[in-house]
Symmetry: C2
């Protein structure tokens, strides 16, 4: 028999369950907000269901609702093995043409992935039960995260939907509990909120709030990564998919923990217009551009929290590749450096090993043997520069200048690497494009967490 | 000042120096031959030079020579930052049209990479000094492996070339010492030899011998991977590059330790014809085909030794992807599974986590966001099968059958995962092509080795 029980974590290990506020590591507490400004018309809750039988205390069912129909869009994983909630929600959004949505119901503890026809029925049943509570018609999308290949304890979940509905509220505590309910191996809930205004309605205060979860299998397209962003700004349904895609490419799709990409990844955006003001109805309006910027920056802040909580991570590393002939080339190089196990272990070892950074740069555009894809562009070794940008605002430390190694002050390098945050800057000297990735290091704890995950 | 000294390894750590026979781990001793049959006309040596000042006892200069001119070919790294010995040797082989070569001189301890014009002069000086000893004219190619960005202690090396020449010999001990001299973080020298015959000269005994070194930065195209293969079969120079490329694609380019690809990788093939018999002069001869097969299988055995010695490795895993619509697709999927940190940590944890294997399969053909490359073909979830093939010859353990999870006997899975060797078989059910990769797991020791490498 497959053993799928997950026993509560031992000391020193991550638990495969949502974190309680007591369990948040001291160093991470600063990333958990103690207050917030949340969009009007939204109510949320987090409920203890016990999706995993071992869980009797942590919220594992999140419900995000709007008191009026929303425009909604979502970006889904590109993994060929798409989980049932992905298939269901994608189809619903298409059918509804991105309008008339009212809720998002999310369980953690079980991914409902590779579960065949039964799994799809479970996903639909969750949505139907939520619709019933909300009095909506085909108004709920669903998400799941957890172990693959296991059916949901669907009765337990459905029985708890009325409870989840009854617990809905708009306070900061409601939002934080809801954000906690979507966590798996995360060590802290990831929640952000902020206010903004739009050019055409300067007196209206709009709000945007979002939650996300990581922590393993994080790599673009996308990851065991769920995200929900809600705003009370009024936006036309047909504009939402483009706005979300643009924001996700530069945020959730620019982070990497381990290069793995999961079956369940979903980021959804809901806009209910409850704050009033002039609606955004055209891509060529100032409001559209302003909101696009707000959403991209907000999504980036949210995505960075996932890297902060990378499994076993001790470092938060920004990889910036500039002066590139193309954005695509810069992205590929940033991504390759961000994924390199040798770079990631050197960072863990606080080792200013620019050779490994250079090495990763050098093979980033090399195709697999036998592949028919050609290299897209050239790197010129004599034009390549690598530097560390310290997080304390002090001067850049040059490691490689125009392809020649610098005599490095190792003491200074060691000081820079003592900080949690670091930027690695690679200037290619061949153009004007750039790209940024965020990543973390590989530690002994990463191996422990992932060697032990199922047992 | 950059600190480039490498102090002798502490207990429990790999030394960044060639292994002495006393230091070879008990479990690896079976991979080190105690005798061999070596190709005629070749003499080799390994000499203690002290390329790294801390090394005073381990051979670190390898010299492989032939008493007559050889046909020679080499496959080099595709990394954009190519080390000086790569640039030098590639150019020499072109200039000599793959003929008239007599020696290969290799140092470990310093990669002579990212060393500019001076580095290129050093590579050339090594070759010239070897030529002088051999009485050859432009007859030596060179290789280097070790830390990047450091100049060679060139005087020390050149001063020792006559010594290396004086120590040349054809015995098994000579070959083993030579194989030891190219090692860096390897825990054992990698040497194989065998005899073979060719259809047109059935009474002639040909021999082939080869050495290689790994252990980190191992991924196709290629790795901090050096290899030299020598045979006494008579082969036309113009046929050698094609023969070698074909063999390397299915051997050295089908292994992965950590997905990193280095600046120095070189595999060279020398054929001196000393055994006599009918020369291979056409691609359309039976002898050509027979030798191609010998070389491919020999190179595969050699390459597998590198995986056996992967940094921190506790497992040797064969990834076979069959029933694919294309070999390219199968390769990409096998490579992606082989590189997945989540698969590699699960193997370390002896966890039959087929979800991660499936997940890697599902994202193998997904392009980076923003990339213009399209997916080459389709995976059909309902046709996908995943099994473990035990190394003890017992029955296959089915994990996923036609996209549906099996009820897995976890006890049996645990038994299978106790063995060092394992085959993961993925049947795609969409065609007839296949590809095989070899990989190892990620352990705590991998992190320790690579977090500490420079310090």
């Amino acid at each position: 028999m497959r053993l799928l029980n997950h026993f509560p974590g031992q000391l020193g290990r991550r638990m495969y369950a949502a974190p309680s506020s007591a369990a948040i590591p001291a160093a991470k507490k600063k990333y958990v907000p103690t207050s917030g400004t949340y969009p009007q018309g939204f109510k949320v809750s987090g409920t203890v269901v016990g999706v995993k039988p071992s869980n009797t205390t942590k919220p594992d069912l999140a419900f995000i609702t709007s008191d009026r129909p929303c425009a909604a869009a979502a970006v889904f994983t590109k993994n060929k093995f798409q989980a049932a909630p992905v298939t269901f929600s994608r189809s619903l959004l298409q059918q509804k043409k991105n309008s008339g949505l009212q809720g998002v119901l999310i369980n953690s503890g079980c991914a409902n992935a590779v579960t065949g026809k039964g799994g799809l029925e479970d996903a639909e049943a969750m949505a139907t039960e939520a619709d019933k509570a909300l009095g909506a018609e085909k108004g709920t999308i669903v998400m799941s995260t957890g172990v693959i290949g296991q059916r949901l304890p669907i009765k337990k979940i459905l029985d708890n939907v009325p409870t989840a509905f009854g617990k809905l509220g708009a306070s900061h505590d409601h939002w934080l509990t809801c954000a906690t309910a979507i966590c798996t191996t995360d060590t802290f809930p990831k929640l952000i909120s902020k206010s903004f205004s739009l050019p055409s309605s300067p007196s209206v205060e709009y709000r945007i709030a979002g939650m996300t979860k990581g922590a393993g299998m994080i790599h673009p397209n996308m990851a065991t990564l769920l995200g929900v962003v809600a705003t009370d700004a009024p936006i036309s349904p047909e504009l939402l998919p483009g706005l979300l895609k643009g924001a996700v490419d530069k945020s959730f799709n620019s982070i990497t923990i381990d290069g793995d990409t999961s079956t369940n990844d979903t980021v959804a955006l809901l806009a209910n217009g409850a704050a009033g003001g002039q609606a955004i109805v055209s891509e060529r309006s100032q409001d559209y551009e302003a909101f696009q910027e707000v959403l991209a920056s907000f999504s980036t802040d949210l995505a960075k929290l996932i890297v902060r909580d990378g499994e076993g991570a001790t470092k938060f590393v920004t990889i910036r590749v500039t002066e590139s002939w193309s954005e695509e080339g810069a992205r590929k190089i940033a991504s390759t450096i961000a994924r390199s196990p040798l770079v990631k272990t050197a960072l863990y070892g606080k080792d200013a090993n620019w050779g490994r950074i250079l090495c990763a740069t050098g093979y980033a555009l090399v195709t697999e043997p036998g592949a028919s894809v050609n290299e897209v562009a050239e790197i010129t070794p004599e034009k390549t520069n690598v530097s560390f940008i310290p997080s304390d605002g002090s001067a850049e430390l040059r490691l490689l200048v125009n392809g020649e190694p610098e005599v490095v002050d190792e003491e200074r390098a060691a000081q820079i690497l003592e900080h949690e945050d670091l930027e690695i800057l690679v200037r290619l000297g061949t153009g004007k494009e750039e790209a940024t990735y965020w990543t973390c290091d590989y530690s002994h704890e990463y191996i422990t967490i992932n060697g032990d995950y199922r047992t």
